[in-house]
């Protein structure tokens, strides 16, 4: 059989019933649109996770004070001050594979220089912090372990803080007043941009945690401890050792909940993608249902079309069309319907993704692969649901078909 005229026949049959074709394709349009948006959100979330993992540093374990599974009161991460400086030192000393530990305290406060004020976050850290988070300085030098031991009044600042307070001036060597304590700026961090949650990571002051505890926040406990492991294979073992070490140090009897939480980088990243995964599942369900409903719509319309065109089928058979020729013709028609719907759906899905990222700030990522898969999927729906009507057409008896009124 000649294929080109067959496409032509399919095209004209669909165009003749424009409204009907559009309504029939609607299910496919919605389904494919949802698939595209779903994959876009899924990929965006994955990229977000990767960025998140990277922004945490490399091979990092985080220890927060407070328990997330406490049976009584849910204190939350960093809630109760249970982590001591000595805990961090014990980890540094006793857990094998640890190559860096940073005691972390965080507060938010006003900083000032000259007549400029700025509200920013103060991170107290050890000198290992810059290695753990893989966050080098773009200018100047980091503070040293000696600065930490002596609780020196030194700090490094992020690019945003630097610009807000000093404009185009070089901040290095300048004095920054934090709670009226003068700190000397040693360096400026390389810009990191927005975090996946939309927080400006460059709006920050990092100083020795000893200085932060003594001169800024005034507390005696740590919010969390950042630990870096040298060999990724040792992370799981180190996590277990940290848990038993801390339980022992905190005198937690067997059977009682931890008063701290230990999370690896992957665990944190997974928690962060939970919402987008829910959205993905939801869209996946919409996509699945729409594609099935769309497919059934196509089947229905094709059955109507086969009935309407019974005589045409009879004529085609009389002049020599084989059953397979008729089958192919109606399959092509069904596939044309579903894949044109698929193409429109792809455009809609890309549009929906763009809207989601513009207005809902969802990170979305459309890949050529997902477009190709969505298109093939819509064509497959056409084949699957077009097959029954097409076979029915092909099985018609030419004499009966010619006589059909």
């Amino acid at each position: 059989m000649r294929i080109a005229p067959t496409f032509n026949v399919a095209y004209r049959a669909l165009r003749r019933n424009k409204m009907r074709s559009v309504l029939t394709a609607l299910g496919i349009i919605i389904g494919v649109g949802a698939v595209i948006a779903m994959v876009g959100i899924g990929n965006g979330a994955k990229a977000q996770v990767e960025a998140q993992i990277a922004s945490l540093g490399q091979n990092v374990i985080l220890i927060f004070s407070g328990s997330t599974t406490s049976s009584g009161i849910r204190t939350g991460w960093g809630g109760a001050g249970t982590l001591k400086i000595e805990d961090a030192e014990a980890i540094r000393r006793e857990v094998p594979g640890v190559i860096g530990v940073s005691e972390e305290v965080v507060s938010t406060t006003q900083v000032a220089a000259g007549n400029q004020n700025w509200f920013t976050r103060i991170f107290g850290e050890s000198a290992d912090y810059f290695d753990i988070r893989q966050w080098p300085l773009s200018d100047g030098a980091p503070f040293t372990p000696q600065d930490v031991r002596s609780a020196n009044k030194v700090c490094v600042i992020g690019r945003t803080t630097a610009t807000q307070i000093y404009g185009n001036e070089n901040p290095i060597g300048q004095i920054l007043r934090i709670k009226n304590v003068p700190f000397t700026i040693l360096g400026v961090l390389t810009p990191k941009g927005l975090s996946p949650q939309g927080v400006d990571q460059d709006d920050i002051v990092v100083m020795p945690y000893t200085s932060a505890m003594k001169r800024v926040s005034g507390g005696t406990t740590l919010r969390n401890i950042n630990v870096q492991i040298g060999d990724p294979g040792q992370i799981a073992a180190a996590q277990q050792q940290i848990i038993s070490l801390l339980r022992q140090r905190h005198n937690i009897r067997p059977g009682r909940d931890d008063d701290f939480t230990v999370r690896t980088q992957e665990e944190i990243a997974e928690a962060a993608t939970a919402t987008s995964r829910v959205m993905t599942v939801l869209l996946g369900a919409i996509a699945g249902v729409s594609l099935v409903v769309g497919g059934i719509g196509i089947m229905n319309i094709m059955l109507v079309s086969v009935t309407e065109r019974t005589r045409e089928i009879g004529v085609r058979m009389a002049v020599g069309a084989r059953g397979n020729d008729i089958l192919t013709q109606f399959l092509i028609e069904a596939v044309t319907l579903s894949s044109v719907g698929g193409l429109i759906g792809i455009v809609c899905g890309i549009g929906a993704s763009a809207l989601l990222s513009t207005y809902a700030h969802w990170p979305t990522l459309i890949s050529i692969g997902s477009i190709a898969i969505a298109f093939l999927f819509s064509a497959a729906v056409g084949i699957f649901f077009g097959f029954y009507p097409a076979r029915k057409a092909a099985a018609l008896d030419p004499i009966e078909a010619l006589r059909y009124e």
Binding site: G314, V319, G320, A321, R322, L402
Partner: protein
């Protein structure tokens, strides 16, 4: 059988089975039709003409008996093989024209070539369709859909469609049944002209004066052939068209 016979039916039966009922529509027809004949199949309604035509046209298979077309036994062929035979050897003209709606005369005429094993280019296809349409007097109407053509013109398109693949035999079941008498004569003129060019024509009709355009009349009754005769005084459609029509037509 290498004696120039194009169609040979040997004791052909066709029995329809509707539930418990058996309807014998054709009950033992033996018939030989030579290449180049123009035959009219006649008989009352329900006598089995259409059933026999369906068998002759390879649209249906006999319940028993043999059918040789062009010296090949086609009575045992399957659906696909019959479709190929129809495509290569048979052209159909129907009472109700059976053109594809909203499709140009040219594309209607081309239809058999869509299913042909011949590989023709788009231009060759078009050229051939236009030539056949011109031969039935439709030059200039190639782009018209059936809705813009008169009944006689539609039947000419159907004839062009039947001829485009150079068939061995043209089968026409009541080709003038839906046409007025003047147009019927025009169609008969085309048939006689084609027949003079050597095309074998088998035509069903229950009208005596239409049958008179054929060379041979075969009459059926209750599924059997009851008469088979040469037409003694053949009508000539072309000369009739030149004269004012007699009132009997």
């Amino acid at each position: 059988m290498k004696n120039g016979s194009l169609v040979k039916l040997i004791d052909v039966h066709k029995t329809y089975r509707t539930g418990e009922m058996e309807v014998p529509a054709v009950r033992g027809v033996s018939l030989e039709i030579k290449r180049g004949e123009f035959l009219a199949l006649m008989g009352a309604s329900g006598s089995g003409k259409s059933t026999l035509m369906n068998i002759l046209g390879c649209l249906d298979r006999p319940t028993s008996g043999s059918y040789f077309l062009d010296n090949a036994d086609v009575s045992g062929l399957d659906r696909d093989q019959l479709a190929d035979i129809r495509n290569r050897k048979i052209g159909f003209v129907f009472q109700s024209f059976n053109l594809l709606p909203r499709t140009s005369a040219r594309e209607n005429a081309e239809l058999p070539l869509v299913y042909s094993t011949q590989r023709l280019s788009h231009a060759q296809l078009r050229e051939r369709a236009d030539r056949v349409l011109a031969s039935v007097g439709l030059a200039g109407r190639e782009d018209h859909p059936p809705s813009q053509l008169s009944g006689g013109q539609q039947q000419r398109v159907a004839i062009a469609r039947a001829l485009i693949n150079d068939p061995e035999v043209l089968l026409a079941d009541e080709p003038t049944g839906n046409l007025d008498s003047r147009t019927s004569v025009e169609i008969m003129a085309i048939f006689q002209q084609l027949n003079e060019r050597g095309i074998t024509i088998i035509m069903v009709t229950h009208e005596q004066d239409i049958a008179a355009y054929a060379q041979r009349n075969v009459v059926m009754r209750d599924g059997v052939v009851v008469d088979d005769r040469v037409v003694p005084q053949r009508s000539d459609a072309a000369t009739q068209l030149e004269q004012p029509l007699p009132s009997t037509l």
